[in-house]
């Protein structure tokens, strides 16, 4: 995408909240409308800036979870109880409210339908956000890229976008859930942290040369990336997005 590299400097824009949806106990999807939004690519993120009355500013990055859709974009926000930014976003924002936002940002952790597959997407918790944008774009573009999503969550109720992923599952997309902490009665799926054995079972194998995208908390991404390299995947084909310790 050489021709898209020149973007001009980033500037802050006013974004209007159009929708707030409760996803799980701690997670909401907030959809914004941004006039003059240049459009985004699946996997990109935005920065959000809050300014207090005394001028103090706090910035956070959020991956875009929605497929490209005109001037609209949806973000997953996890409420961090002692966070500076997320409690405001999840508890206070209502449709019609405005905040400052800039983006779209990044070009490295990005998938385009033209790149094709096979794809291996590995998400830990809210790390599903940029991968969800890819899955939604894949569906919208009617891409036939063979795609596997390995999605690790604490419990059944913590699976963000569970119903939508259920609906999209099938055809060229295979969704595999991992429940690390609690499992519902009768659960026959994975009930441990993602490891090399699990990645080998889910595939694709290194010989199929999948494009791999891993997103989640830093220790999760670290463990998954290391296991993938150990299985023989090309390190250059593994793209990672680490959340780090979110100050939320």
């Amino acid at each position: 995408m050489a021709g898209t590299a020149v973007l001009g400097r980033l500037t802050w824009k006013a974004a209007k909240v159009v929708d707030v949806v409760v996803e799980t106990r701690h997670v909401k999807t907030i959809t914004f409308d941004v006039p003059d939004w240049p459009g985004h690519r699946a996997g990109q993120h935005v920065d959000i800036r809050l300014t207090a009355e005394d001028g103090y500013q706090a910035e956070r990055s959020y991956s875009i979870a929605s497929a490209p859709d005109g001037s609209r974009l949806g973000l997953i926000v996890v409420r961090i109880d002692d966070g500076e930014v997320s409690p405001y976003l999840t508890d206070e924002l209502r449709p019609g409210d405005q905040i400052e936002l800039r983006g779209p940002i990044g070009g490295y952790f990005v998938w385009e339908p033209a790149q094709g597959g096979p794809l291996l997407l590995v998400a830990g918790g809210s790390g599903i956000a940029p991968l969800m944008a890819m899955i939604r774009l894949r569906a919208a573009a009617k891409s036939d890229a063979q795609t596997r999503l390995l999605f690790s969550a604490r419990s059944w109720d913590d699976i963000i976008y569970r119903e939508e992923l259920d609906r999209l599952n099938g055809g060229g997309l295979r969704v595999v859930n991992v429940l690390t902490d609690r499992q519902p009665p009768g659960w026959t799926g994975y009930a441990r942290r993602v490891d090399a054995e699990m990645l080998a079972e889910v595939g694709p194998s290194p010989s199929e040369r999948p494009r791999v995208y891993v997103c989640g908390p830093t220790p999760f991404v670290e463990a998954v990336a290391e296991a993938l390299v150990r299985l023989g995947h090309d390190p250059r084909a593994i793209k990672t997005e680490r959340f780090g310790p979110t100050g939320g």
């Binding site: 973007l7 990044g106 070009g107």
Partner: protein, 85 residues
């Protein structure tokens, strides 16, 4: 492993404040070990500022510190930055 480690992506917005290009897809070559790779694949650590380290040898490629009205960017750990135009 440092639980605070991030990826080059984490500073993409910061760098795009000053550079009119998307830096994470640019290729940087490490001045220490000579490895070349996407800036998005660097390991990023946050402290008083940001340090982008070579994922192969850990050499600091780029250091970024923000002052009140300026960004200070040290590129001494990098031999070249190749940008698609």
């Amino acid at each position: 492993m440092d639980a605070g480690m991030l990826d080059g992506n984490a500073v993409a917005g910061l760098l795009q404040e000053v550079f009119a290009v998307e830096v994470t897809t640019a290729t940087g070559t490490c001045a220490a070990c000579g490895a070349a790779g996407a800036m998005g694949a660097t390991h990023v650590y946050r402290g008083a500022g940001f340090v982008m380290r070579c994922p192969h040898c850990d050499n600091p490629l780029v250091k970024i510190v923000r002052g009140d009205d300026r960004l200070w960017i040290d590129l001494s750990g990098m031999r070249t930055l190749e940008v698609a135009v």
